[in-house]
């Protein structure tokens, strides 16, 4: 599986991650046919401490889905940051994952964004598959 990011998308996600550091950031990925055209920042509304958690409110989810379909695209998934943690999904990510969505994770170390990875839930919910990320087509 390959997820392609339009030019500027990776940069926007990384920028968001360092902006909210040491808290986690989150946002929606919008595009179509495996190409992310835009990343939309969303508020992190977790009540469990934003250093280690993020949550997208249902109304923000609906807004993201509406925005995607209005533009003739799809909601392809979500991104979030792992402050001072590797860009790999946690058990918590796995427990809360939805099928077919791409989950982009950016690791941010000391405020500096590093790796960007993308993951998809396996059909049986047992684990994530890492997706191949292609960065920056025009």
């Amino acid at each position: 599986m390959t997820l392609t990011l339009r030019l500027g998308v990776a940069g926007a996600i990384k920028h968001h991650g360092s902006e909210t550091y040491p808290d986690e950031c989150c946002g929606a990925l919008i595009g179509r046919d495996g190409v992310v055209a835009g990343a939309y920042a969303l508020p992190n509304t977790t009540e469990e401490g934003p250093r280690r958690r993020f949550r997208v409110r249902p109304q923000d989810y609906r807004e993201a889905e509406r925005r995607a379909t209005e533009g003739g695209g799809d909601l392809l998934g979500f991104y979030h940051s792992h402050p001072d943690h590797p860009a790999r999904p946690s058990q918590y990510d796995l427990d809360h994952a939805w099928p077919f969505f791409s989950y982009i994770i950016v690791s941010v170390r000391g405020g500096v964004p590093e790796d960007l990875t993308s993951w998809r839930l396996k059909e049986d919910r047992s684990a994530f598959d890492q997706e191949n990320l292609v960065d920056g087509i025009d």
């Binding site: 993020f54 979030h80 943690h85 790999r88 999904p89 684990a127």
Partner: protein, 500 residues
């Protein structure tokens, strides 16, 4: 009849429909009807206990059912239901830094500052160049004194690694080996000198390390590492330093490190190239994340077959020692998730990124290997008795040099495949033969014509037997191995050629 709005990630289960018509009198019944019609989405809506998952929000006409009567909420005709994903996640909850610290994932396990051993006057003088660096200092040196490394093998990699670890003041160094010093070892295995030839490597290593640093305890284990003894041998050590030269032991060391939770300071060498990494740390990848399975037996030659530049293990072994020391001190950036490749001819270091594979059979989320297995079998190396049996039955796949000569003289159309290395081919060759070194065969076998009869040949017939096995495995049937290789060819057919 009511409508349920389906969110994007569940639409692949509903034939891409954004909304679906369902029947029922309550919210729970509508959802159950949905799951009945589209079974694929059931496990994403319901947990194993049959309850709605916590991240599944359900709205009845824009009202969260949690604020109504939840799944018992009655529905009227025309009411519409929406499933709205709650999207959540986050980094792993950090476990408090007990032993395995945050800076180095394996800072010295379980060492309490108060119980660290003191340094004697002699030791303070000896380690003074360490002590004046704040990254080590007195406390760091005491940590090293309290820590321990087990070297698997006292050969090319184990020699420089053990010598530097001893000189640096690592308190306890274990060595596993069962070999005897041979003249051919001296070109690179600096633990052993010319007078040691014929001695056990362990005895020679112990003498050498004690001469370097009498403060270090050297424990020796005269045995070959096996699935039966590995976990017990690893248990009393903080870091395992893999200096092995074969795949079965390499996989055994890796798996035993993962199972016992010990970091593996890995290195390997071949000809002019070396590799190093740190495997099996908490959260880091292991050797199997990189190579889940070994190569087919025989396709990757050993140093005994392919040779090795004598100084190469000096570089790689010292990198392994460096990483061990960093892990035990908990300083710097360990070689975790990074695979270092060193090319001595080009004098270049390259680094590959390594990721922990969630599918890894040993360290993944759902490991299938949870205890040590038979690694000889795993690597496709058959016990000797079976190999002999196969050899006896395998005569139809063999041809003698005399028979080959007769058939060539008869004008039979035979393709002679020489699987040696080019520099061997320069020394002698069977007229008309074509050179494809054994290691290149997997990517070049398509150059061969499967309809033509092939005779594979090497120096003594061992590598070409592997070539025959390999070619048979990819579908060749008209193939034979030249028994005894070119040496028997020279002895029985063409004595004019030089032997090596």
């Amino acid at each position: 009849m009511n409508t349920i709005h389906i969110p994007t990630p569940l639409r692949p289960f509903t034939d891409k429909r954004e909304s679906v018509e369902v029947n029922g009198n309550t919210v729970g019944e509508l959802l159950a009807d949905l799951a009945k019609r589209y079974g694929g989405l059931r496990k994403h809506l319901y947990a194993d206990d049959g309850k709605l998952r916590s991240f599944v929000n359900v709205y009845l006409n824009d009202e969260d059912i949690r604020y109504l009567e939840r799944e018992q909420t009655p529905v009227k005709p025309g009411d519409s239901l929406s499933i709205v994903p709650s999207v959540a996640g986050g980094a792993q909850v950090v476990t408090p830094p007990s032993g395995r610290g945050t800076s180095g994932p394996t800072s010295h396990a379980g060492v309490d500052q108060d119980v660290l051993p003191a340094l004697s006057q002699d030791e303070i003088k000896r380690y003074s160049r360490h002590l004046i660096m704040p990254e080590v200092g007195i406390d760091g040196q005491r940590k090293l004194k309290a820590s321990s490394v087990l070297c698997i093998g006292a050969g090319g990699l184990g020699s420089p690694a053990a010598m530097y670890l001893a000189a640096a003041g690592v308190g306890r160094i274990g060595i596993v080996d069962f070999d005897v010093v041979d003249f051919s070892n001296l070109q690179r295995q600096l633990l052993h000198g010319t007078p040691d030839v014929g001695r056990s490597k362990l005895a020679s290593a112990k003498d050498r390390l004690h001469a370097l640093n009498p403060h270090v305890h050297v424990e020796t284990y005269e045995t070959s590492l096996s699935s039966e003894n590995a976990l017990k041998l690893f248990e009393p050590y903080d870091v395992i330093l893999d200096g092995t030269d074969n795949f079965p032991t390499r996989y055994l060391v890796n798996d035993a490190c993962v199972i016992s939770g010990k970091p593996n300071a890995y290195g390997s060498i071949f000809r002019f190239e070396g590799q190093a990494s740190v495997f099996a740390t908490q959260g880091g990848p292991c050797y199997r994340c990189l190579y889940p399975e070994p190569p087919p037996p025989g396709l990757v030659p050993s140093c005994a077959e392919g040779g090795v530049l004598g100084v190469l293990p000096g570089i790689i072994g010292v990198i392994q020692a460096t990483e061990s020391i960093k892990l035990m001190l908990g300083i710097g950036e360990p070689l975790i998730g990074r695979f270092l490749i060193y090319d001595a001819l080009k004098m270049r270091f390259r680094e590959l990124k390594l990721r922990k594979d969630p599918e890894c059979p040993v360290c993944g989320t759902h490991p299938t290997v949870t205890k040590l297995i038979d690694y000889e079998q795993f690597c496709g190396i058959r016990p000797e008795s079976q190999a002999q049996a196969a050899g006896a039955a395998g005569n139809e796949w063999e041809i003698t040099p005399v028979e080959l000569k007769r058939r060539l003289d008869d004008g039979d159309d035979l393709f002679i495949l020489d699987v040696r290395e080019p520099n061997e081919y320069q020394i002698n060759q069977i007229p008309g033969s074509t050179l494809i070194p054994l290691g290149e065969l997997p990517r070049r076998y398509q150059e061969l014509d499967p309809d033509r009869e092939i005779v594979a040949q090497c120096k003594v017939g061992a590598r070409s037997a592997k070539a025959v096995d390999y070619l048979r495995s990819v579908g060749f049937v008209k193939i034979k191995n030249l028994r005894g290789g070119i040496l028997e060819w020279i002895d029985t057919v063409d004595p004019s050629q030089p032997k090596y």
